[in-house]
Amino acid sequence: MKKQRLVSLLLLIGMIASSLSLLSCQGQKQKFVTHSLEYFDTATSITGYESTQEEFDRISGEILDLLGEYHRLYTIYHRYEGMENLCTVNELQDGVHRTVTVDQRIIDLLLYAKEMHGVTNGKLNVAMGSLLSIWHEYRTAGLDESRAAELPPKELLTEAAKHTDINNLIIDPEARTVWLADPAMTLDVGAIAKGYAVEMVARTLEEQGISGYVINVGGNVRTLGTKPDGQTWLAGIENPNPDAPQSYAVYLALAGESVVTSGSYQRFYTVNGKNYHHIIDEQTMMPAEGYLSVSVVCKNSAQGDALSTALFCMSPEEGLALVERLPDVEALWIFTDESQQVSSGFSHFVTRP
């Protein structure tokens, strides 16, 4: 009798002790991750350290809501009831409508895109929508029916390439209007919008004093501070060769910086056994050749996004010269033969797991 009471008492104490130990674990911040496939036609993941699932859900929910707002403004593939976005800007260029009044965030993005056009010597050009839409159409059709996959005819591309002059993108910041002075021109912000949106969302959170988070929209990574214990984030740069045994080409230690990778392995279609990826060089009107991936490490994720695409369309010499000229920007180029080139300060970020 007494023995049994003792046993049940001991068991109860055991139960209470183990519940307490669980509770004390929750007092420390732990890592949470959430995914979304809703935005920018790619996969988004949010990683953060919080004490409770509820708190993480609240903050990651706010991040996703903000990303959703930017997505709806910047998409060129969908219109939304009751708002002007870049899709309507493209569609309204019929010679009748001239200017379109848009959200301030569209003006800000386009002004920044024009600035990066200058920085990259024209390699980052959001006015080449006509050219990119042809490739997009042929790629989508080729993926749907792989046996019928074909390349866009040269004449079609040549005609489209006549309507890509960014000087015909007229922005009036005061009136908040956009006008495409060439009616055959369209905008495609795919090379910069993700990074710009991620940067703006990250800054909004930083203003609220939030750190210990990482926003990753399709390889466009922006860290907010360090982990709660002050440790840096470990970022793996994907090995662009899927058959190689190592998953990562290099590991980086990040503390508030952004890393953005543009890769020919990310989005492509196959014609007669050859892969044609999505990063189009305006000069050749064809997918840029020479690299498997280019990664850019810098503070501003919008700059990283624009540069990673632009560097993909530049020779390694030209690209290296550009990166060395820009303050606090480092880059890693992985060539088609898997050899690498890095900028002078890149090794500063390289670490081992």
Binding site: R5, V33, E238, A244
Partner: protein, 135 residues
């Protein structure tokens, strides 16, 4: 039949017997709770393969147990194979085939994503030394 024990009735048993029964029930409950807690704690220690479908948790598997899982979402179809501590998409009906071309994953934070079928396969691990983020 009249000799059958009437549990909990003071007529058929002494107070001592009832107390013994209560102690036994408490002990059993405690054991079950402890076992559940132990299982929960142990589960977080092993590497897991977490599958989300359209943003919702769809399934969670041990990376250490070999198995084949068919993930269906409307017309979408991905066959996930877990084998020798690695997970990969063996076959899928998505147009781009990026998921089935992806290398097998086995380290914490690694993921295979099928955008057309809205499938995310992710490795969760408590082990140190694995990337927090992948670019």
């Amino acid at each position: 039949m009249s000799k059958e024990r009437n549990w909990g009735s003071p007529v058929s048993g002494s107070a001592k017997k009832i107390k013994n029964d209560i102690a036994l029930i408490v002990a059993l409950l405690a054991l079950v709770l402890l076992a559940t807690l132990a299982l929960l704690l142990l589960r977080t220690e092993g590497d897991r393969v977490v599958v989300t479908l359209d943003g919702q948790l769809w399934g969670e598997f041990s990376l250490q147990e070999d198995r084949t899982v068919e993930i269906r979402n409307g017309d979408g179809y991905n066959r996930l194979v877990i084998k020798d501590g690695k997970a990969y998409v063996q076959e899928a009906n998505c147009p781009d085939g990026i998921c089935s071309a992806h290398r097998p994953i086995g380290y914490g934070g690694e993921s295979i994503i099928c955008l057309p079928n809205k499938v995310v396969v992710e490795i969760r691990s408590q082990n140190q030394g694995q990337p927090d983020i992948i670019s």
